[in-house]
């Protein structure tokens, strides 16, 4: 018997499809690349728990057939920290967006990276607030238009991959929705990394970013991203003027080091003859 549906559909809550993402939105592509990346690892999908905040990309966990925690705006990483420390055996994956992770959740992002907690964070960066209708975000390119930047944004955007690398994450990569194979590979490496892994995915929001910035169709946005992407190795040989408006893709950090839940576990082992307590809520007192 040959399956007659997308090989990625089996990971989804079928009764909830089609998902709410706009036509051409990159979120769906990232979902599939995640599942492909996961298939490359030894991780059992049953052991995956997804956590997200608020925004379009944060709806992804709601479609995946696994335990999922759809939390408050910007706070996904703090919930994920509790979940992962509470049960280090879970494979905890966080889906977030540029507004969620870098604006309202910016402080949680740098601290989770600093602690190098073993989470895999997939940040779908579409340079705009999609769910609320196209306001500029902390990653909106200078000069881009949004409903709150009618004259073009004059703010300096965050370089998320660089920011998170500097904060101490042990694995950081940036790819785009036009690089699904490289993205899957990066997600696989992120999942396998025993520490804080941050995969930034530059993605298209045709509905808001595209429409506000003269790229009316999903394809136009897709092509724009593809054409402006430059591999990190090549970019290193280019000067600032040449890199203007370019999306640098590749690996930004791959530097495994001491991880939070391991440290907590070791501390308990040094101070107690009991195993690390997990699921204490279900246990009677001795």
């Amino acid at each position: 018997m040959v399956e007659k549906e997308s090989p990625y559909k089996k990971y989804l809550r079928e009764e909830r499809l089609p998902h709410i993402f706009c036509p051409g939105c990159g979120n769906g592509t990232v979902m599939s690349t995640f599942f492909k990346g996961l298939e490359g690892t030894d991780i059992d999908f049953e052991n995956v728990a997804m956590v997200s905040g608020i925004g379009c990309s944060s709806r992804i966990p709601g479609y995946a057939k696994c335990d999922s925690l759809h939390t408050t705006h910007g706070r996904a990483l703090s919930f994920a920290t509790g979940l992962k420390v509470g049960n280090p055996d879970l494979d905890v994956v966080v889906f977030t967006g540029d507004g969620d992770a870098a604006s309202i959740g910016g402080n949680h992002l740098i601290h989770a990276a600093r602690r190098n907690i073993n989470l895999t964070v997939i940040c779908i960066n579409n340079n705009i607030y999609g769910m609320t209708g196209g306001q500029i975000s902390p990653t909106s390119p200078k000069g881009s238009f949004g409903t709150t930047a009618p004259y073009g944004s004059r703010d300096m955007p965050f370089n998320l991959a660089e920011l998170v690398s500097a904060a101490g994450a042990s694995y950081v990569a940036r790819w785009t929705t036009t690089h699904p194979l490289q993205l899957s590979k990066a997600i696989q490496k992120g999942l396998e990394n025993d520490g804080f892994s941050f995969i930034e995915v530059v993605s298209q929001c045709p509905t808001y970013f595209g429409r506000k910035n003269k790229m009316k169709t999903p394809l136009q946005m897709f092509e724009w991203i593809k054409e402006n992407s430059i591999n990190k190795r090549r970019a290193e040989k280019m000067d600032e003027a040449e890199l203007e408006g370019k999306i640098i893709v590749g690996e930004f950090a791959n530097n495994p080091h001491a991880e939070l839940t391991d440290n907590i576990k070791k501390l308990a082992e040094e101070n107690s003859d009991k195993p690390l307590a997990i699921k204490s809520a279900f246990e009677e007192l001795d």
């Binding site: 999922s68 920290t81 420390v85 601290h111 308990a268 107690s272």
Partner: protein, 376 residues
């Protein structure tokens, strides 16, 4: 074996949490609650538990909810400014029915106010602080022993009703040292866990006044937990008025309809009392001496101590109001619980506030003077 210690209230709270099987603490330093975090950082590793100092109080509240879904009993401790920051995630705790315990050692407010001084500044914030309709549970200790006992009770109620529970302590109770008796037979409530995976489990399909068992992430139930209005499967359903009404009414009912089981008051000399002093938390400590002094003079004074400000013990107050002519409410604020007392008294007794701010507990004579004034 029963153990006796001479400890601070904040330390008793940490010991209570450990006794209740709390094995996860996330917090952020803030006076006058910091000793709880410090104690938890000492104790948890010895019990195989986990302590994380978070980047702020918002993250602390998020982390304990995440930990709760991992299957842990989890707690944070803070004071007014931190409670303000936590409100958003506490609201998330209500709508997702996540058992967590929040310790609030209250201090002079608003804003940064008086970090090292006492107040009952957040009685109403715990009731209404997060946006929307919900019914919180809160316990207010008045001694080191009660801080220990109520922390355990907070965990038990949180598990029983799948709800965030706050212990509304204050600087006086948090910082004073008294004898703590740790009994050897502590009753704790364990979390109800759904039976094995059969594809039929609906995580939010509860009777109109109840909850369903709660699995841990990783148990194989593949549940979706969201702060959006959701159906019994946990799936967002945000535009249907009926789904929202059914969900939020149930969240309220599971506490309101069990008010009798949750509410706790301590009544003394109320049967013949003309004047009843209704207190909650630390101010109770000043009631006894005032009552004794007045009784010695033949003034019939009683005391009703509220252990659980939320849900508010309406019936008990209504009953008192029927027999007493006057009710005195000493509070370390300019009037918060007194409004609830007035509401519950239905105009049947005169309600007098002794509102005190500045950081110092009422002296017994301040209450005694009010009794004399009313007695004429």
């Amino acid at each position: 074996m029963v153990e006796e210690r001479f400890v601070q209230g904040n330390e008793a709270c940490a010991l209570g949490a450990i006794a209740a099987n709390c094995r996860f603490f996330a917090g952020y330093p803030i006076t006058p609650s910091t000793e709880i975090a410090e104690q938890m950082s000492i104790l948890l590793p010895k019990y195989g538990g986990s302590f994380v100092q978070m980047e702020d109080e918002i993250a602390s509240a998020g982390a304990i909810i995440g930990a709760s879904w991992s299957g842990m009993k989890a707690m944070t401790a803070t004071s007014g400014p931190g409670i303000s920051l936590m409100q958003e995630n506490i609201g998330y705790g209500f709508i997702t029915e996540t058992p967590i315990v929040i310790i609030n050692v209250q201090r002079g407010s608003p804003s940064t106010g008086q970090p090292t001084m006492s107040a009952q500044a957040d009685m109403m914030q715990v009731r209404w602080g997060s946006h929307g309709d919900y019914e919180p549970i809160a316990l207010a200790p008045s001694s080191v022993q009660e801080f220990f006992d109520f922390t355990i009770k907070a965990f038990n109620l949180a598990e029983e009703y799948r709800v965030p529970v706050t212990v509304l302590a204050d600087e006086v109770v948090g910082h004073m040292r008294e004898k703590l008796i740790i009994p050897d037979d502590i009753e704790i409530v364990t979390r109800k866990r759904p039976e094995k995976v059969d594809g039929q489990y609906l995580p939010f399909d509860a009777p109109c006044d109840g909850t369903t068992p709660m699995p841990a992430f990783g148990d194989g139930f593949n549940i979706h937990v969201t702060g959006l209005t959701h159906d019994e499967r946990g799936y967002p359903d945000t535009n249907d008025p009926d789904t929202h009404t059914k969900l939020v009414e149930r969240l309220c009912n599971k506490v309101l309809m069990h008010r009798k089981d949750i509410c706790s008051v301590k009544k003394e000399n109320c049967d013949d009392a003309d004047i009843v002093i209704v207190s909650c938390g630390s101010p109770y400590r000043s009631v006894g001496a005032a009552m004794k002094k007045a009784r010695e003079e033949g003034i019939k004074v009683g005391s009703l101590k509220i252990d659980t400000p939320w849900p508010f013990p309406e019936e008990e107050i209504a009953e008192i109001a029927k027999t007493a002519s006057d009710i005195i409410v000493p509070e370390m604020n300019l009037g918060q619980i007194v409004h609830e007392v007035e509401r519950a008294a239905h105009g049947e007794a005169n309600v007098h506030l002794i509102g005190k701010i500045g950081g110092i507990l009422h002296k017994p004579d301040e209450i005694y003077d009010k009794i004399k004034e009313i007695n004429g």
